[in-house]
Symmetry: C2
Subunit: 665 residues, 2 copies
C-alpha cells in the first residue's frame, strides 16, 4: 500500500526477507537434487547433499523514537526476545521508545528459517545479523525477489510465460504436441473424469514417440495434480484412449537475466550458432548453472566451471555463479570430493578464485571462506607423501571420458591441484590470512616437471608410474591453459600435443572447450573458428534447437539421441556446448580483464579468418563495443582501465571515446 | 499374518525397519529440542541442533533360490537398483533366482530415510549396510519397536495409559483437575461448539491457579486439535465461561523400561525416598534422559551424565544412554561446546568411556567414534599454550550455580579436561587406534598440581591467576571423585575442603550428588545417609510427588516453586535429584563393577547408620542380591566375577550361591 509508505520517516528502508547466508541456496539445491525422475522412478542424487540449519537466531539493536508495534513474520515458528521479554511470532509486538535489543529465534523443519519485519519502527534487511547458534553472528542474507510479507523464500522466484505448440498432431495412441523448440516448464493437464493417460516427454520427436525408452514419462489419472513438475521438452505425447479429450497446455519456467554481450558477424551460420548458444545457456541458467535440463539437473562442479567462464561474458552478473558455488560447496564436514570427483573439488576452489578476480566480491569470499578452507583441508588430507593427489576410498579421478592413462599419480590431477594451491594462496591474501599453500604449489610444480615431463616426447605424460608414456591433449591443454609451462617449453607442448594429429582426438564437447581455449591461447584462432563452424554448424543442420551434449557428424536420425547406453540418454540442451560465447568474446573480440573486477582490461581482437563483426563485451561495470572491418577495428570502452593491443603494441583506451586501430596480422 | 510366516524357509529372519545409525536419535532429538513452549511462546533450543541426512543408500548382496518378488517399503521416496535395473519403491519388484546386488536409494525431507522389506526372498535387518553417500558403508541400525510395514520410525514408540483425576473441583473461573501426582502426557479436550477455554498446567496447585505465571498455558477453541501436546502436570485448570461444559481427559505417555534394582530398608522414609526417586527417574527417561519434564525438555550433557550413572544401577539397559549420547553428540563440525558449556563437552566424552567400561559395547563406541574424535579435536583446538581449557568466544564455563572463582584458567575445567584426555586414551585403545592423549593427560596433571594446589590450604584453589585462593567443595569433590589425588593428599583434600564447615555450602542438588559421592568415596556414609533422609525426606514432607529441582527446607508454601526469577520456574520433577538410587546401590549395597561390562565386580556393603536392608543390584548380565541384618549380610551373585569385601579382606563370590559374611565396622 503506497499510502502507508508516505507517512514513514525518510530513513526507513526497504524491508526484505532475511536468512542465514547460504541457506537459501542450500535449500533450493536440496530440492533440485531430488527432483530427478527417470524411467518412472524418483532418482535421488548420488552424492551427499547438505540441508539447511533447522534453527537460526536473528539479531538487531536499534533505537525507537516513539512507541509503536511491529510483527515478526515467518513461515517457521519461534519467538521474539525484546530485552528480557518473550513474544510470539506473527503477532503484533509493542515497543517502547528507546534502545532495543532484539533477538528473533526461529526454527523451520520444512524449509529454512527466514524472517520479515516491515514496520515504521524497523525493517529486516542486510543490516541484521544472523547466527546459527555458534556464537558467530554474520550479516544476514536476502534476495531482491523477497520484499513483501506475501513472498516466500522457499519458492524459487522463476518467471513464467505461456508456450504455444507449433503443431498438435494425432499419433497412433494419442496426440503429439510440438512446441517448436527446446523448452523447460510445467505442463497443465486436464483429464476427463475417470480417465488415465500417459505423458511422454521428448527433447526429440523420436523420444516422445517411444514410451518404453523416453527418459521422462508418467501415468496420470484425473485425481493427480493438473500442474505437472517443470520438465524439459520440445514434444509431449499424450497417450491413451482418452488422449483426445485431454487438454494440455505448457508454460516456460525461466530465470529472467539480462544479456550483456552480443556478437554479430557477416557469417550467417555463426550468428545462428551464437543465438543457439545463448538460448541454450539461458535454459541451463536457473537456481544454479545446470549441465543439462533433461536428465539429472544436478549441479556439477566441472560443468559449472565452464558456465562461470561463459556467464562472466554473457551476463556479467555474479548472482547465479555465487548461488552455484554456495550450493556445490554445501557444508562441512567433507567426506568425499565434490560430485565425488577429485578434479571437481579442484575446479570449485579455482572457480572461487577466478570469480573473485573477475568481480572483486570479497564479501562473497568471506561468506564461503570457512567452507572452502574445510574443503581444501579435506583435499590436502588425502595427498600422498609426495604431495600428489592420488585415488583414495570413494574417489573418482574423472578428467574426461575417453582414453587416458589413469595410473596414480595422474598428471592432470596434479596440474589442477597445483592451480588449487595457488588459488588458496591468493584467496588467503584476499582474506588477510597467512598464505599456507604457495610453498606447496612451488614444490608440486617442481615435482610435476621432474616426474611427468617427457623430454623425448616434448610433452607431459599422463602417468609416469605406469611406464606407458601416454601423451593426451587433455593433460597438455591444461599445462598451457594454467600456464604451468612458458616460453619454449610451452611451444613444444603446443606442437607435440595440442597440434599433434597422431594423438587421440578429444570426443567430449566438455573437454573440447578446454582444447579450443588452449588453441586460442596458442594463437591458433583460425583452427578454432573452423571447428566452431563445423561442429556447431553441423548440429544446427541436424535440427538442433539447443546445443546437444555431444554431436557426431557421422551419425544420422535418432542415432544422434543415444548416449550412456540409452536410446535417448543424450541431453539435447547442454550448457557445456555454449563455449562459442566465451571463445568469441575472449579471443575474437579479444576482451579480457587483467585487474580485479575488471579494473584493468585488455582488448586484443583476433578476427582470424573472419572479415567483419560487431561485438559488445561487458567488462567491470561497463562494456567494450567493437566494430571490425578487416583490417580496421573501432573500439569504445565505456569504463577506464583498458588498453588496446594490435598484435604488436599496446595503446591506452580512453573511457567513452571511440578509437580506431589497424590490426597487425 | 501368521499363515504367511509358516511357509517361509526357517532361515528367514525377523524383518526390521532400518536406517543410518544415529539418524533415529538425531531426528527425535530435533523434534524434542523444538517442543518447548513457555508463557504462550514456542521457545526454540538455544544451541545448535543437528538434523538427519536427507538421503541414505541401503546396500545388500544376497542369493535368491527361486524367482519371487519383494517390495521396498518407505515413507520417503527413492528407487531400487537391482543390478543395472531401476525400480520404484513401494511397488512389487521381480527378482530372478541367483546372486543379487541391491541398492535402495532413499530421500526424505520430513523425517529420515528408513527402509522396510519383508518378503520370503529377503528382509531388512542389521545385516544390511547403510551409506550416507560418503563411500563408507556401515551396518544399518534398527530398533525392536519397528518390525512391521505399518510401523513408523518417525513416531517415537511411547506407551500410553489412562490417567484418572483424584478430584475435579470448581474454581473461580472454571474447573481444576488434580491427577494426584506428577505425570506427563497428552490431554484430550472436547469443547462445546463455538467455545474457547484456557488450559493452565500446574506441577503445583498454585501454578495451575495462576494463569499469568504458569509456565505452560494455552488458549483453545473448538477448531483446535482435541489431543494436546504431551506435557508435564499434576493439575490442569480449564478456565473460561464454558469450562464446565468442556470435557478433559488425560493419558500418561511413558517409556516402558524395567527396573533391575530394588532397595528396601527398615527406615520407612528411606523406602518412600527410593520410590520417589524411581518414579521421578522414570518420568525423565524418555527418548533421552531429560533434566526435567516441565520446563525445557532439552537434553543437557551434565544432567545426563548423572542419569547415566543412576540408570546403570536402576535399568542396567544401554538403550536410553546410547540414544542420549548420540543425540548430545549431534554431528560435526563442532563450533561450540555441547549445550554451549565447556564442562559438558568433557562430561560427554567421559560418559562414553564410562558407558563402555560399564557395558563393553564396543559397537556403540565404533558408531559414534568419528563424532567423538571431532568433538575432542574441537576441545583441544581451544586450549591455551599451557594446555589449559580457557574461555573462548561463545564458551560457558559453568561448573555449578553458586560462588566460584571463575578467572581463567579454572581448576575444575582442568580436572575434567584431564579426565577427558584419559577417556580418549582409553577409548582409542578400545578402537585399536594410537593413543594421542595420554601424554597430554600426564602433562596436564603435573601442571594442575603445580599451579592449583595450595599447600597452606591443603586443597585445590579454583583459580591461581586471580590471587583469591578461593577453595570450593565443587573443585575438590572432583579431585577426589576422579582420583586426581591419592593417599595423604586425598585425605587432606577431604579434610580441608569436603569436611570443612567454613566453606560455602553447595546449593544445587546437581552438585550435591557429586559431593555426596565424594563423601562416600571418603567413607563418610553416615553423613550421606543423614543428608538423604533430611533433604529428600523434607521434600516428601513438603508434598513432593516427584523429586524437585531444588529444595530449601527454610521455605514454605508456593515459595518452594520459584526459581530462575519466575514464581513457577522450578521444575518439580527433576532427574538430578534421583541420586539416592546411585548412592544406595553403589555405597550402601556397595556393588561396583571393576571389569569391563561387569565381568568383574566388587561387593562392599557399607550400611552406615542403618540396621537392615534388602537390595538387588544388577551387574553385567546378572544381579547381586543382598540381605543385611546388622552385622550380617547374605550375598547372592547370579554371575561370576565377584568378590566380597567386608572392610578388611576380599573373598571371591561363587555365582548362584548365597554367602553370608560379618561386616567389620
Amino acid at each position: 500500500m503506497r499510502g502507508g509508505a508516505a507517512v514513514r520517516e525518510e530513513t526507513v528502508k526497504q524491508a526484505k526477507w532475511i536468512w542465514y547466508p547460504g541457506e537459501f541456496e542450500i535449500y533450493h539445491h536440496m530440492l533440485l537434487s531430488f527432483r530427478r525422475q527417470e524411467l518412472g522412478c524418483d532418482y535421488p542424487c548420488v552424492w551427499h547433499v547438505s540441508r539447511p540449519e533447522v534453527s537460526v537466531r536473528f539479531l538487531k539493536s536499534f533505537t525507537v523514537q516513539r512507541d509503536g508495534v511491529f510483527t515478526a513474520v515467518t513461515r517457521g515458528r519461534g519467538m521474539v526476545r525484546l530485552g528480557a521479554q518473550l513474544y510470539p511470532v506473527n503477532a503484533p509486538i509493542p515497543v517502547q521508545a528507546g534502545r532495543c535489543d532484539l533477538a528473533v529465534e526461529l526454527f523451520d523443519f520444512d524449509a529454512f528459517p527466514a524472517l520479515f519485519i516491515d514496520s515504521e519502527l524497523l525493517v529486516t534487511d542486510e543490516s541484521w545479523m544472523a547466527e546459527r547458534y555458534d556464537a558467530q553472528p554474520v550479516p544476514a542474507a536476502c534476495a531482491p525477489a523477497f520484499c513483501s510479507a506475501a513472498d516466500n523464500p522457499a519458492v524459487f522466484p522463476f518467471a513464467y510465460r505461456a508456450l504455444s505448440p507449433v503443431s498438435v498432431e494425432p499419433i497412433a495412441n494419442g496426440v503429439l504436441y510440438d512446441f517448436g523448440q527446446e523448452a523447460f516448464g510445467p505442463a497443465e493437464v486436464t483429464l476427463p473424469a475417470g480417465a488415465s493417460v500417459q505423458l511422454v516427454y521428448g527433447e526429440s520427436r523420436a523420444e516422445a514417440l517411444d514410451p518404453a525408452h523416453a527418459i521422462i514419462r508418467e501415468t496420470l489419472t484425473d485425481r493427480d495434480e493438473a500442474t505437472r513438475p517443470a520438465r524439459a521438452f520440445r514434444y509431449i505425447a499424450v497417450c491413451g484412449d482418452r488422449a483426445a479429450e485431454t487438454a494440455l497446455t505448457a508454460r516456460e519456467e525461466y530465470l529472467p537475466i539480462e544479456d550483456k554481450a552480443s556478437f554479430a558477424s557477416d557469417v550467417p551460420t555463426l550468428n545462428e550458432i551464437w543465438a543457439l548458444c545463448v538460448r541454450t545457456f539461458h535454459l541451463n541458467t536457473r537456481e544454479f548453472f545446470l549441465d543439462g535440463i533433461k536428465r539429472d539437473r544436478w549441479v556439477w562442479s566441472g560443468d559449472a566451471y565452464q558456465s562461470f567462464m561463459i556467464a562472466r561474458y554473457l551476463y556479467n552478473d555474479p548472482s547465479v555463479t555465487e548461488r552455484t558455488i554456495t550450493a556445490l560447496l554445501g557444508k562441512p564436514p567433507y567426506r568425499r570430493h565434490i560430485n565425488t570427483i577429485n578434479d571437481y573439488t579442484a575446479f570449485l576452489i579455482i572457480s572461487l578464485w577466478e570469480h573473485y578476480a573477475a568481480t572483486g566480491r570479497r564479501a562473497f569470499v568471506r561468506q564461503v571462506w570457512e567452507n572452502v578452507k574445510a574443503l581444501y583441508a579435506f583435499l590436502v588430507s588425502r595427498l600422498d607423501e609426495n604431495g600428489y593427489a592420488v585415488r583414495r576410498q570413494g574417489d573418482w579421478i574423472f578428467v574426461d571420458w575417453g582414453e587416458l592413462d589413469k595410473e596414480d599419480p595422474v598428471c592432470f590431477e596434479q596440474i589442477v591441484l597445483w592451480k588449487t594451491h595457488l588459488a588458496m594462496a591468493a584467496l588467503s591474501r584476499v582474506m588477510d590470512e597467512p598464505d599456507g599453500s604457495s610453498a606447496a604449489a612451488a614444490a608440486l610444480k617442481e615435482r610435476i616437471l621432474k616426474d611427468f615431463w617427457d623430454e623425448e616426447k616434448g610433452a607431459f605424460v599422463d602417468s609416469f608410474s605406469s611406464g606407458r608414456r601416454f601423451v593426451t591433449r587433455q593433460t597438455n591443454s591444461f599445462a598451457v591453459l594454467y600456464e604451468l609451462v612458458e616460453g619454449a617449453q610451452k611451444r613444444r607442448v603446443i606442437e607435440n600435443a595440442l597440434l599433434n594429429p597422431a594423438l587421440p582426438a578429444i570426443t567430449t564437447p566438455y573437454f573440447k572447450l578446454y582444447e579450443l581455449l588452449a588453441l586460442c591461447e596458442a594463437g591458433k584462432i583460425a583452427a578454432a573458428q573452423a571447428y566452431i563452424l563445423s561442429y556447431w554448424g553441423g548440429m544446427l543442420q541436424a535440427g538442433a534447437t539447443a546445443v546437444w551434449e555431444a554431436f557426431d557428424p557421422t551419425q544420422s536420425g535418432a542415432a544422434h539421441y543415444a548416449m550412456y547406453g540409452a536410446p535417448f540418454g543424450k541431453s539435447l540442451c547442454h550448457a557445456w556446448g555454449c563455449g562459442p560465447i566465451l571463445l568469441l568474446c575472449r579471443y575474437v573480440a579479444g576482451v579480457r580483464p587483467t585487474g580485479v573486477g575488471g579494473s584493468a582490461f585488455r582488448v586484443a581482437p583476433q578476427p582470424g579468418s573472419w572479415q567483419s563483426f560487431d561485438a559488445t563485451v561487458p567488462v567491470g561495470a561497463g562494456e567494450v563495443r567493437l566494430t571490425y572491418q578487416r583490417p580496421t577495428v573501432t573500439v569504445t570502452a565505456t569504463v577506464p582501465g583498458g588498453v588496446f593491443f594490435d598484435g604488436k603494441t599496446e595503446t591506452p583506451l580512453e573511457a567513452g571515446k571511440p578509437m580506431t586501430f589497424q590490426l597487425i596480422d
